[in-house]
Subunit: 332 residues, 2 copies
DNA sequence: TAAAATGAACGAAACGCTTCGAACTGGTGA
DNA sequence: TCACCAGTTCGAAGCGTTTCGTTCATTTTA
């Protein structure tokens, strides 16, 4: 039903080859150019990218595999990734893993069958097996935000451990001794931030009793329940580090509900700045990621691989972070 | 390089037709089934959806055109839309218009050339011209969240006017007389909510002076600057209605900064509930949209059109909303 | 036991495009 | 005037699938 190049051929009397040449920016006689353009307009012709992709073996599309499209973090990063890709002439095929490894594995095969030219992954799983179909298909892959524990792929992320380590000084230098942590343990970032926390504590000569170490998932529930447990302790911590946006949100909800005040009752240090945190009183100290740079670097790296310009072993890029200061930490 | 159905043919000695039949769930002798499955595993075969789409003229992909992928509202709605589509066996091709009508128009053509089976649109533009290429190509279209001013398409949204009208009673019944509004005027939702606001005021016999009517864009800046202007007025309003998430955020930031308290100095009524608003003290009265239902109904409608099951004139579905109560409104 | 009916497998054409090498142009220089 | 050349145009093959109409093998029925 929709117009094809053959319709253009019949309308103009030119050959398929000439029309194709025009469509791809080749040189065509001015008079023919006019004819073709008129026919395109008249017939509402749009190139069929399926057919084009079939012969060129390129789709100009990058697959984006996100752990959850619902998270505000994802939204921001997608915005920057999308913009960077658009500037380079690529579209993106986003697939949502809904925080589910099964779905994630299926999604990889989906992207392969859609013949994407490359894949950017914000993974759910922490092991890389699920990516091997793409690797077999020789599709370039770049991890974003989260690294994997077994196989090394190109990866663009922040230095989670160091960022946490440095941010912890805000609590430590204000004489907090009893500091708890609520961290996700299912993904890379949560584990790294947890490790950064523990290192900071160790180097400061501070103990972290087992009930100060709350591990859970990347979720509001983990923050909510974790903080609840901490508040119920006989020997309560004076400060708490929370490893991501959702956990920070949940923990604060739970404090609000219980009538605990920050920083009077408990001092807080969180991760992943989002504008609305600025609304809160007190304003929370947050580690802020360079979203735009993350997206751009990932795209740059991926395109380098796709064009074969970059051809070395896997590269791991760890960007620095900024600490958004607040007044959520009391000096003891 | 990647394996094709021809490789399978050679490995198994069967014909293309038989293998294709297997791939599409047709009946094949058990022994052949085993052979095919073994070959698929061994060769890491994945169907080439480009080729398949070219002949079937179906891609099992729905294009999603969003005004901005950065907004948390978008993230939530995409999650539900995606889930509903996945259950029906469809993938989604998301394109971000970055709040820019030019990009939006280009994106429509992009989706057409990608041969999506249908399109769900959260539009930037308020006129529908940009969709005509898709209409010419006979691709079913469903609008989501926002309607258009000129052409009527299928649309799933909330009843913006009525929701606002009803929510306004919270302010009016608490004896507020001087109520201001900060609303976006560029998109449908903002205009409708503005109208709902004005109707509620008129029916209550209340005046709305010009400097109480702040119109702007769907942005934090509009909320921020709007509230600033209101706070600077000699005759300040006692209550303010804000037409969406971003504006509410911006307005509150600006109040916080200026040291204005809610509800003591100004009472607030907002739109688009997001979990983090529950963290704020006081908790803001917010009109909450049924995100899941919106996504599901849109998908349902679109699939109905794609299958030709629904075949009537454009349908406009307006869902109801819920008011999230808070303590941001003072009784005068 | 032969004919009819069932179920699977097959060959070839088609989907809409790109691309390669060959065939045309008209203008130039010998 | 003719051979040559650069610049366009053209025809045909091929990308990886599905599908239609046909053939083939097996089972059922009379």
């Amino acid at each position: 039903m929709p117009a094809t190049i053959v319709d253009i051929k019949e309308k103009t009397g030119l050959s398929l080859a000439t029309i194709s040449k025009y469509l791809n920016g080749g040189n065509v006689l001015p008079e023919n150019k006019v004819k073709i353009e008129a026919a395109i307009k008249e017939l509402h012709y749009e190139v069929n990218e399926l057919a084009r992709g079939l012969v060129t073996n390129k789709t100009n599309t990058v697959g984006i595999l996100v752990f959850s499209i619902e998270s505000p973090f994802t939204g921001m990063i997608l915005h920057h990734v999308g913009e960077a890709l658009r500037k380079k002439g690529y579209g993106m095929l986003i697939v949502d893993s809904c925080d589910d490894e099964q779905i994630e594995a299926r999604n990889v095969k989906y992207l392969i069958s859609k013949k994407v030219d490359g894949i950017i992954v914000l993974p759910v799983a922490s092991r890389g097996d699920f990516l091997s179909p793409a690797q077999n298909a020789k599709i370039p892959i770049v991890l974003l935000d989260r690294s994997l524990s077994d196989i090394q792929y190109d990866c663009v992320r922040i230095d989670n451990r160091k960022s946490t380590y440095n941010a912890m000084k805000e609590l430590i230098n204000r004489n907090h001794k009893k500091i708890a942590v609520i961290a996700s343990e299912r993904e890379y970032t949560g584990r790294e931030r947890f490790n950064g926390f523990m290192e900071a504590m160790r180097d400061a000569g501070l103990e972290v009793p087992a009930d100060y170490q709350i591990r859970g998932t990347h979720s509001i529930a983990t923050g909510y329940n974790g903080m609840k447990k901490l508040m119920a302790l006989k020997d309560r911590p004076t400060g708490v580090f929370m490893s991501n946006y959702e956990i920070t949100l949940g923990a604060m909800l739970s404090m609000n509900e219980a009538g605990f005040r920050c920083p009077d009752d408990i001092s807080l240090l969180g991760f992943d700045d989002q504008l609305f945190f600025h609304l809160l009183q007190p304003q929370v100290y947050m580690v802020e990621q360079p979203m735009k740079a993350l997206g751009e670097r990932a795209v740059e790296l991926l395109i380098g691989r796709m064009n074969g310009i970059i051809d070395e072993d896997p590269i791991e890029i760890a960007l620095g972070t900024r600490l958004q200061e607040g007044n959520s930490i009391k000096t003891l």
